[in-house]
Symmetry: D2
Subunit: 348 residues, 4 copies
């Protein structure tokens, strides 16, 4: 664990968890069949099925961008459209990876103030697309982020309504779960309830931000949808020959629900930080439901914090008062002391 | 190290080297800037420059397929042609990754019996392509494997002639160095002599088969050619947020030339195995110059070896006598005893 | 000419002009070299240079979608971003053709109420993109429609400011001129003033809506930018073997500025129609500057017109009063009587 | 008709047939619904069904490259493999269009001396591909040319055996029928017998080389396979707004089997030319079964013919005696006198 962790820039600055490192050491023995024909990958499949209480197909890859883009390539043809939030990571932060992997499918962004899409937003654009026939890309999929890029979390009822609407229109549903652990921790439900029981077809299950070196899992809850995934993964250069080293990271996090404990820990720190900020009169621009806080800070305070070694990003946010908004992210490896140090540095 | 290693299937069944594991543990401390803005990645750049004795741009990725496909995407436009051997890994084993990454460029395969292309093979097809104008893909690059897929190694003079011819025709040159260590070990020259001094523009420097968990480096010897590599890497989902874990693997292998010692060790075992096979009257279908042996074995002997737990692949080879050919691969983690055990199992 | 033309649905329902048909008949003699090595294609090049008063590279293709997508594929790499209006034809009506042809580049839509982009809209998103580095697609091009999809026309000063801003940020500029004739007719300037003298790098010069059977020209005002266009056109299946039949259509329209007279005629009819509508108290939602009119019509009046055989589209427009908006398009082949018939059918 | 036609370079140097020009003039009346919702396109569908005696889906496009590439994009996924002859037009003459349209699928060339594939050539490479699993592109389709690029014609029995083998291995079958008319004329069978009754799933029905300005038809004999064709056609910029002008060309050729009479005429001229060449002692390197002749001509005779204004291509052919091979192509618009003039020019 880091001492005096002063970076709130992202949960991806954290190191790997000791359990993950131990798992790598454990599987680093002898010669093992390559490309996933190994005991650790089989163990991962078992753990994933137990965690999600269902049959599924699970594929480890090294990055969240790869997980999302591969999942979307299965769900949307090159002439397809993918509805998503306009601030969705797939739309704004992946340098066009979904367009690359799908062969040119189009992301069709929808806006809301809190990062969560509403079921009612789908009908009009889909009807318009259908009316336009071949001139419009064919509505194919819906991609949602849970937790969202604004640190908010869809309630189960919201998810159910959204996926039911999508399915009714013939769309499949992908969930970008880079921070799925934080969302499940917030909801207090089971992983199954937060995913397939809510109508999610494919989940990008994030681990890199939650204790892995580099590991994400693409999980298909309808395994027959994964038919061509393995070919797509290989041709994308995303199939490791020594796959056990990816599987081991994920298995270590699933074992004993370490991933969920990590998520709860990060959320608790975010709540503590949010409370401290509010007590100091800092305005938060979104409800704090996961491990991200978006706070309004005057430029002098930002500069003061940075001078003391704290790290974080300013966030694009169109505020009427033009005050800067900063993003503060907690992570599984942080301690209460790290949060308190930031609050202390802020002063009154 | 494995005891009683009986798999000669591939060098990718080996575990990671202890030095690599130690490096992972070493960099697993505290919070670190993501996406390559970290000390370990800077250290890798330094080590690579020292190893190759030149300015260069080096980018770590997790798989050889990604390294090759990203490199080729930089060298060839979507309407371009890439000359390669017809048994080149990029042409036969990557499920179309080069086509995917380049946006549809065409591999133009050329044949030889030993896996090595000859400089004289280029002029006619290039002249034909140029004469055909827009109807033919535009000759753009040459990709060669060193060591080759037949376990042979280009001599420096052969390389120089080949790259000079390619450059004279306006092509850039990529080297698939999945087994670059074995080639350099065989040649007894410096890495610089085996690469840019021989006219190689971009090298896929292999490490996964040579002691890493999952790491390869794409090395541009003309850094200005790498201008768009970073964007391509990101949109391919090949940029790790915690890049230090890739950089550390590569740095550990470059440090003190561990990679080269690994290559020499595997080559020595292959030579020992080849000698033992020849002494037992086994025909080898290619010169043994790296760590791969292609041997003619009757089906009963294949079955007998497998019954004793030995693993290896039969190889597609059009022999007039229709006898099977097997591939035997040695690796950095094997011991003389492993080789001798196979020879003993073969009997007289 | 059609008698009693009752379709105001689009200018693409019109037949080809007699001059165009005559040109086809004229070039339909004897055997002629294929793929553009023919006198008619050379004549087109000459006519284009004379029309635009400059050196240029001109390439005929059969559809506007092909013209736009090919042009954008030259301007933007697969990892690039193309700024455009959110209602731009390239963004809404081409089924993802730009994404297909560019290999996955991303259209980055900007909004305005009148279909015209403002120079001031570019700085913030480009700065944001640059700050995000490899996570954001690389800003590469600006695509504008002239006349716009709302039937409005950029003034020359507006164009100059827009292209200067784009160029200052390193973008190239594409103009979708499906209705370039109508725009030039409105502006009363020369084609040169309306294009390269205003900073346009590449123009999709529309002819299909303006008297051709199926013909558009992609015009590069910096011919060196067209270096790879011919290869892209061929691999897109857009190079006709009997290219003279495309070239002849375009040449017939350029000859004696027939294209411009067509544009003036359609504009004049639109102005007459607009005046008649206003006199009848019909609200128009955009200034009528080219050959498209967007009018607010109650559903009963729409039904009544349709019952009398008039054809037109309802247009998506978010009006507070939820009244339908219809689009009425005039064309080169219509007569004043056609317009008057519609007005008469509308009644008081 | 041309007088003194001296170009034997290609059938694509011919003008359009008078019937085709008349059809264009006929449909050039009044305003007509765009994008295929027009009487002429419906008429084409009827004529195609009558010609092929079956239900089918038929889509007109302007070029053969577009027809082939669109058809293959429907048959093969981006990670798929398409078996074809190594001299197939799709493999050698389309600048990578199949790779572009499929999103990177791989053409897997097979060789024979006469341009015709043999059923027995498929089993081994397909078994190899399947054994390699995700490392090899997935065998998806077979594409054959009829008539072939060597001017030979598959017999019906050969076709049946080939398509049965392909189907048995799970492949679909595409026929590049750029010279389908010449093949059917040679076989003396019905179009149905030469296509779907022989197991062809999708046919590129050529017309440009056979009397059209620019028109080909993609014909799906299992219409359900065409589900996504229309979206692919649009995003490829291959959907004409004024589709009637494409449909009219094809309909004019289907009407009264004009296409077939054209094919018979060109074949008869080729036979006459072949006979004359043989009588003059000229060696032909392939049987003359369609409208292409490949003849061995010494360089002086080539020069002499060219000096008299005759045009034709030298053809790449690896002859042991290194003598040049020329291709002579007859076409629907030529007359016996044109052939006789060439023979006369050759002399004894």
């Amino acid at each position: 664990m880091s001492q005096s962790r002063r970076s709130f820039a992202s949960d991806n600055v954290a190191p790997a968890a000791p359990e993950v490192m131990a798992a790598l050491a454990r599987v680093n023995q002898g010669s093992v069949h390559s490309y996933g024909d190994d005991p650790e990958t089989r163990r991962l499949v078992e753990l994933a099925r137990r965690t999600f209480e269902t049959e599924l197909a699970v594929y480890p890859v090294a990055t969240g961008t790869a997980a999302n883009a591969l999942a979307l390539a299965v769900l949307a043809p090159p002439y397809g459209g993918i509805y998503c939030h306009d601030i969705a990571h797939v739309n704004t932060d992946e340098c066009g990876a979904p367009e690359f992997y799908t062969g040119g499918a189009k992301l069709l962004p929808l806006a809301t103030p809190d990062g969560k899409l509403r079921a009612g937003q789908l009908a009009v654009p889909i009807a318009h697309a259908r009316a336009m026939g071949v001139h419009h890309v064919a509505p194919a999929a819906l991609s949602i982020s849970q937790a969202t890029e604004w640190g908010t979390v869809y309630q189960l009822g919201e998810l159910r309504e959204l996926t039911a609407t999508a399915h009714a229109h013939g769309l499949t549903v992908h969930m970008d779960g880079a921070r799925f652990a934080n969302a499940v921790a917030h909801l207090g439900c089971s992983p199954a309830e937060a995913s397939w029981k809510c109508g999610i077809d494919v989940l990008s299950f994030g681990a890199t931000k939650n204790g892995a070196l580099a590991a994400e899992a693409v999980i298909f809850f309808k395994p027959e949808m994964a038919r061509d995934f393995e070919l797509r993964r290989k041709r994308a250069g995303q199939l490791w020959s020594k796959l056990r080293y990816l599987s081991a990271q994920l298995a270590a996090l699933l074992e004993g629900d370490l991933w969920l404990r990590h998520g709860r820990h990060a959320n608790a720190l975010a709540a503590r930080l949010a409370q401290g900020l509010r007590q100091r009169g800092v305005e938060l621009v979104q409800p704090v439901e996961a491990n991200e806080i978006f706070a309004v800070l005057p430029s002098q305070r930002i500069a003061a914090l940075r001078a003391q070694g704290f790290e974080f990003y300013e966030w694009p946010a169109a505020r009427p008062d033009r005050q800067p908004v900063v993003r503060l992210v907690t992570a599984y490896d942080m301690a209460e002391g790290d949060v308190d140090a930031l609050l202390a540095a802020l002063g009154a």
